[in-house]
């Protein structure tokens, strides 16, 4: 990544002035400006970017994560921000040390659109979002126990053998696939099949940690 100043977004200078050392570095890649913010002050910086009248990044285009093939390299949580009225884009990144628990602050309080996006990042990468109202798996099912599929240490075919995957699929009771949320509404817990109750009791919630 070469940092040129040709197409650098003016938001970077403003961020540096406001947040100083919390802006760890910036770069320009293919005309897009990328700003790295420290995890501690990321929420504050994102809120500032949204509310500051000169910035007005009111639209969260996308929220995702990137893990590099280089195992030493940090996992990044990526926010694609856009200002609808200024027609400007900015990419904000938070680097997470993979040896520590992967936790960042949720931005659902800033952009409602982040709700499902954060759930997807949690599902696919195992990054937890502090303060998310309903952080659970979204694309994989609740009891999925193989891990987080988009991590680089996750093999393309999954962690479990094909035989084990088939066994689990055949022995699964599709009727029992209700989330805890629905169960508590319906109070159908008592009517559940014994195996589902047993699984809930054991705490099988799909986290291989």
């Amino acid at each position: 990544m070469t940092a040129s100043t040709a197409s650098l977004s003016p938001s970077v200078a403003a961020l540096r002035e406001k947040f100083g050392a919390a802006i760890t570095r910036h770069a320009v890649s293919c005309g897009d400006t990328i700003v790295h913010v420290s995890n501690e002050r990321a929420h504050e910086a994102l809120a500032w970017l949204r509310d500051e009248p000169t910035q007005r990044f009111d639209y969260l285009t996308d929220l995702t994560a990137v893990e590099y093939r280089d195992v030493e390299r940090a996992l990044e949580v990526v926010y694609q921000l856009r200002s609808i009225e200024r027609k400007a884009d900015l990419r904000v990144k938070i680097e997470l040390d993979k040896t520590a628990p992967l936790v960042v602050d949720s931005v659902v309080d800033l952009w409602k659109g982040a709700d499902w996006l954060e759930r997807e990042v949690y599902d696919m990468f195992g990054v937890r979002f502090r303060g998310h109202p309903d952080l659970r798996r979204i694309l994989m099912w609740d009891t999925y126990a193989e891990g987080h599929p988009l991590r680089k240490d996750f093999p393309l075919r999954g962690h479990f053998s094909r035989a084990e995957q088939t066994r689990q699929a055949l022995s699964a009771n599709p009727e029992a696939q209700y989330s805890l949320e629905e169960l508590s509404i319906a109070e159908a817990y008592e009517e559940l099949p014994a195996d589902m109750r047993e699984r809930l009791r054991r705490g099988e919630r799909g986290d291989v940690g």
Partner: protein, 428 residues
């Protein structure tokens, strides 16, 4: 009772010491207290196999009588792991995966992929290629909106426009087949160019379509726009304010129906869209009716763009489609079979793929459903480190619980239809 909380700690199983699930208090809204009727809330499961969910979407609806208290969408039934698969493929090998995401507009997805990789490589494509891609995008917009129109009509009890729109859609599929050889799995683009130029005489077919298709649009307009039943079912239902639409990251017709004039083609142009003469329809009420009006008008505008693009194509007759860089574009087959250098390039491209410089690029295009964005991170090899799809209907569907607050159960079907979802893209 207080407002509901769903702060399940995911490290713990979410059950108490006796093994019962942690109870989630019901969401009781102001005015609807329990002792009023003493009725129980009912839980209705819609889908995943239900025609009105437009694919394998499952909705769990909590009802108080006929009033919806909340909707919990469940997705993932069509999850195919495209993003993961993309990390194991060369850039040109990802093109067939994009066909299968939003399978109602495969050509537009192909175009987005090629553009994103070209942005990553800093590659300039030829003018004829740009025009061909504009044609592909606008054809996709028309067929996608036609499916939306037909299926939404069916959901609300109108069967005839469904037949009209699918008839018209079929004609575009014929053109698509003549161009790419496939109706759905088009795989039209390549990095730096196209899989093929349009065949001889193909443009006449599209011209004919542009001439005759507006008749159907007029008929649909006559059938729906001032239809009392249609208006009754759609006006004031599923309203989203402009502020909320932005906050919920809605895009495409969903965003514009709420009064936000944001169209990627106008505001962040690609493929030379700024040189075409077309308007972006914007609604004002943000309800289902406005979404219908916006999509209907977009089809008119697409026809306008197609006509202009066809004129340009005429002028660029014989101009090259692909870039001339032999490291990016495969040499013609006859040269690969007779010329040593061309054969080496052919071999290297097929075996090693097109490598990109280290860097990353996000590119958004205005797809029929909304802003489709592809975000590539490259470490300098021929396979991306990360291929992220910014799925427009995923984000649009995420607003469904908000749109369905306090509506009737039958409106849930209408609202869900108005979002224009395609599960292949949501689940990826």
């Amino acid at each position: 009772m207080s407002t509901r909380t769903l702060e399940l700690d995911l490290s713990t199983p979410g059950v108490d010491s006796e093994g019962r699930p942690i109870r989630v208090p019901l969401g009781v809204r102001a005015g609807a207290s329990e002792d009023e009727l003493g009725g129980e809330h009912m839980l209705v499961n819609i889908g995943p196999q239900h025609p009105a969910t437009h694919g394998v979407l499952r909705l769990v609806v909590e009802l108080d009588g006929e009033v919806v208290l909340r909707v919990i969408p469940h997705i993932g039934y069509l999850h195919s792991g495209f993003e993961k698969l993309g990390e194991y493929r060369h850039y040109n090998q990802i093109v067939p995966l994009t066909d299968r995401t939003d399978y109602l507009s495969p050509m537009a997805n192909n175009v987005c992929l090629a553009l994103a990789v070209e942005k990553l490589m800093g590659l300039e494509i030829t003018e004829r290629c740009q025009v061909l891609r504009v044609i592909a995008c606008e054809m996709s917009r028309v067929i996608s909106h036609l499916v939306w129109l037909g299926t939404t009509g069916i959901d609300l009890g109108a069967f005839t426009p469904f037949l009209w729109s699918f008839q018209e859609r079929e004609r575009i599929y014929d053109l698509q087949e003549a161009w790419t050889g496939a109706r759905l799995t088009t795989s039209l683009t390549r990095v730096g160019g196209m899989m093929a130029d349009v065949p001889e005489g193909w443009t006449d077919g599209l011209r004919d379509y542009c001439r005759t298709f507006p008749k159907t649009l007029t008929e649909v307009d006559t059938m729906f726009t001032r239809n009392a039943i249609w208006i009754g079912r759609t006006q004031g239902v599923g309203v989203m304010s402009a502020e909320d639409a932005i906050n919920y990251s809605l895009s495409g017709p969903m965003l514009r129906a709420s009064g936000v004039a944001y169209d990627v083609r106008k505001d962040c142009p690609y493929l030379g869209y700024e040189t075409y003469d077309f308007d972006v329809p914007v609604g004002e009420h943000g309800d289902i009716y406005d979404r219908y009006r916006v999509r209907l008008e977009e089809m008119w505008q697409s026809v306008r763009i197609l006509e202009q693009a066809l004129d340009r194509l005429e002028k660029l007759k014989g101009a090259p489609v692909n870039v001339s860089d032999p490291r990016v574009i495969l040499p013609p087959k006859h040269r690969a079979m007779s010329d040593m250098e061309a054969m080496i390039y052919h071999f290297k491209q097929v075996m090693e793929g097109v490598s990109t410089p280290v860097g990353e690029a996000y590119l958004g295009v205005e797809n029929p459903k909304g802003e489709l964005g592809y975000y590539f991170v490259s470490d300098g090899t021929a396979k991306p480190v990360r291929w992220r799809i910014r799925p427009p209907s995923f984000l649009n569907l995420a607003a469904l619980p908000k749109l369905c607050e306090g509506v009737l159960l039958s409106d849930v079907i209408a609202i869900n239809a108005s979002i224009d979802i395609v599960m292949g893209e949501i689940d990826r």
